[in-house]
Symmetry: D2
Subunit: 304 residues, 4 copies
């Protein structure tokens, strides 16, 4: 191939990141709260801005921020539904915006227990996990990916690691009883063509999170890979609306401390929780023949 | 005063910081887990190390780490009890160690719900707050300070801010209905002379945390200062074993978004959650005549 | 399409992440230091581990860590050269390892100035930026991507933003003189087929970093998009060995503070540096006809 | 002592934290930039706000923020001088404000090298360290404490650790050649009674930082304690205006990797840089008889 010396613009996207929006619904004394961190990014014909500094197509990132706040006035509903509304607005409102990527983190607030009951308007943030959502609009196709991160789980037994190959750099002893701990990051992609208006994304989220936790507990783990696959399989078996689920799970090592120099035994009771390095296990569990939709995953931070 | 030109060693302490110890108790199939981040620092006669590089008095920080792991073999019990055992060991074991400071963070793990019941050996980390503990040994006096941090709470109404002085730099409008949100950091000091072996620090912790949450909900808040004082007063009234409680609470501003340019009203429904700057309210609530024990607080990060 | 109900393993990779390796070269009194954070991930046939818990193919992540340390004994040279050696080792050593992804951050240490000269063995960490490198092995193809992140730059003038479209959500006023500030994250991909052994990756890095800084200074910026393209074009024009460069650059807003309520003017002198939200501008600058190599970028955190 | 059951307000302070102010001086084409993160906290009679929700004395934290921006219009000069002006304003402007605490971090920007010279209005952030300043006003006394943090230094040789006591928990082997690495956090207190208007705080800062770096390089280190004392002594000997200097320095362990299982030696060349736990060495170096001014240090995060 003869190399052209012409230098051109390739893939690009831009927008406003991390718009923190808190929506309070107060139509009764029992207030509701929705708390999101929203990023909006547009794709389309933005060549003139890059090559000539002509901003005629550049919907200001400030305008994108304003739109997010204005749309929140009518309620959020679910992060996915909110992002879908934004994606529809931006792609239908500007001819040259042919797609984009909208992303949200959302944070759960529990009602404070006060004098024996849940308070009407006082909340405490639940830090168990962060919920995530991504909507990607690519021409006429709309992809929805939901997920969670920072869900830290641990088993004190029923995990081992044996039977791995040994080469000249292998020193790890086998073990049939260890702590298994990880921070679950998972994202699941809803089927292309799903009727989004008929989907209860909040219910799917709650169900899938519960299945992931349950899947973590169930079997003896011969490898974190196996546990990951078990967790994903449970989700796909129960949720026909999901085509694939990706996981990125660190193996958070808990090393048994050698107490023998101090005249003590240590029958799997005292552990050192290490920071770095850590194992990192990443995989996709998917429905055979359902396709993989790489365009949906483009721009995801890391594996998922 | 005539200034001496002699340069000398002043206050000092040293040790091992952030020893991550996880203790599993597995005497039945229903495992228990205790998860701590422990720091040990010794005070005493360490002048020769600083001035001459003579380490004869320097109990190695590695030795301090080993001691923490060895002591965990017999169980933790409560972070406070564990730190008290360490403080007793180091001050009685080495003549020149006349005091020190031991600190711990601890992390709560909940049992995973699986198939309708709590699992025996699978846990999910509860991120609602981090529990803290400090033991300071100063000669024959032992101070115990317990606390929590990162407990994020929010009220959607029953908060206002009016009646403050106005000068040439004041532009803030008054409001009688706003969101009040803060991350509670609190530390409470147990009475000097308390019988530590007869104190159930875990129970005190749970009770005090519940009182802090309840105190946050109860009254209309004219200022975060008032809410802080209410929270502290509830604790001291119910817990005679506590002499003072200190708070450091950011006022996490939630600004009402002006939607009028878009033809929308905003009756306290859509807010922008700001990062910086933030208000910062810090105060001590104490029992009159009980004393303040500045030596106990020396070395605390910031106000508390 | 008839949907299969069979649930299968899709894309996957695993390894050891964030192996912190510091290599000191001390063959003369003037020591050299190389400081890296290395991640190794293997791709290939790992189905049995996921589906059956059979680890016969699972080169332990601990073994990968050991290999990194052992290989460092012979020196690092450049992060890219080091990762290439690792990739060659793992793909040639195990039949079922058909590819993988190796990544490094590296940190620069400057010699301390002491008594008028650079010290032989004392260093201070230079925090101006973090250097990054990725090697992706995909069958017989090897991709090398170098980059940097956290390079924070700012212009106090010669930047404006005008001529953007206005819709009902647009309130931003135009400006012809503003602060332009960003954290540069950039990654550039070396041409497929480049002779890696003949490439001086350290020199390319230094040159490209200098060009990026220079490119930021040169022209009036009508939009951050334009400045980004200028920076990328300079690199591609000067470095024939590079086929494309991707940028992810936040627009770190510096808002002019309205001092008029206090009887003061503010002729672009006093600014509030905001945290969130921020603009986020991401684009690729590439050589026409050189191809885009999506496999090389797969797994990159976010846009780049 | 008879315990009173009355619950009262103890020490308290409040204000606005982390006000990010960037000041550009553009009276010539060669612009100057000052970049600060300022916290203002007032002390005095604020009892009514805490006990009754009466805000008549509560100078709004928003007003404190506005004051910071308004004062920046006339220039910063040095962080210390800026904080002194704020402290004078708040304590003289409100009868019930009897003291307070003002704190700043400041960030250094270097001019970008472009086409062989330093650019007039384009800057790159220098991440070598963060400069800190604290002004405490306590009645008629004003304390000034300057400092730095995050200055990471490392020696590849001329450090050892031997001669420490051995007890039943000691397993650490002695070494006469190791890596010594630390993040220097230091704060120095200017003499009480110093004429602040005649003090060039910027020059003192530059000189003291250079002395700290030089002090780190000079002698064989028998313990980090000794190196710390050497560094402090150099500062006090050269700077009569400083009465004491406090250090908090982690011992950032670099463990020699055992390569013998792989048939390799390791003559102090390949190290694992550990995260946690770490040693933590904290001490004060002071001028004999100069006093210690505990009120100045009250509220400092941790030891210093």
């Amino acid at each position: 191939m003869t190399m052209s010396n012409k230098i051109v613009l390739g893939d690009n996207q831009y927008g406003k990141a991390e718009v923190r929006v808190v929506k309070v619904t107060r139509d009764t004394d029992r207030h509701q709260i929705e708390d999101l961190n929203v990023t909006s990014q547009l794709r389309g014909d933005f060549e003139a801005a890059h090559l000539k500094g002509d901003n005629a197509h550049v919907v200001a990132t400030d305008t994108q921020k304003n739109t997010i706040y204005a749309f929140a006035r009518a309620g959020v509903g679910s992060p996915e539904a909110f992002l879908l509304r934004l994606s529809e607005h931006f792609t239908s409102g500007f001819d040259w915006v042919t797609g984009g990527r909208w992303e949200a983190e959302s944070y759960t607030w529990d009602r404070i227990q006060s004098h024996g009951s849940e308070h009407d308007h006082s909340f405490v943030r639940n830090g168990q996990d962060v919920r995530t959502a991504v909507v990607v609009r690519d021409g006429n196709t709309t992809h929805v990916i939901s997920g969670l991160k920072d869900l830290t789980v641990l088993k004190t037994t029923q995990s081992g690691f044996v039977g791995y190959p040994r080469d000249k750099y292998t020193t790890l002893p086998e073990t049939t009883d260890r702590i298994l701990a990880t921070d679950v990051s998972a994202r699941w992609r809803y089927s292309t063509g799903l009727d989004h208006t008929a989907t209860d994304f909040n219910k799917s989220y709650e169900d899938i999170k519960a299945l992931l936790l349950e899947g973590f507990t169930e079997n003896y783990s011969h490898a974190l890979q196996q546990t990951l696959f078990d967790m994903g399989k449970k989700v796909l078996e129960a949720h026909g609306e999901v085509d694939e689920i990706k996981f990125s799970m660190p193996n958070k090592h808990h090393f048994l401390v050698d107490l023998s120099p101090f005249g003590l035994d240590n029958p799997n009771e005292v552990f050192f929780a290490a920071d770095r390095p850590y194992g990192l296990i990443e995989a996709t569990v998917q429905r055979e023949n359902s396709g993989t939709a790489p365009a949906a995953w483009n721009g995801i931070a890391g594996f998922c």
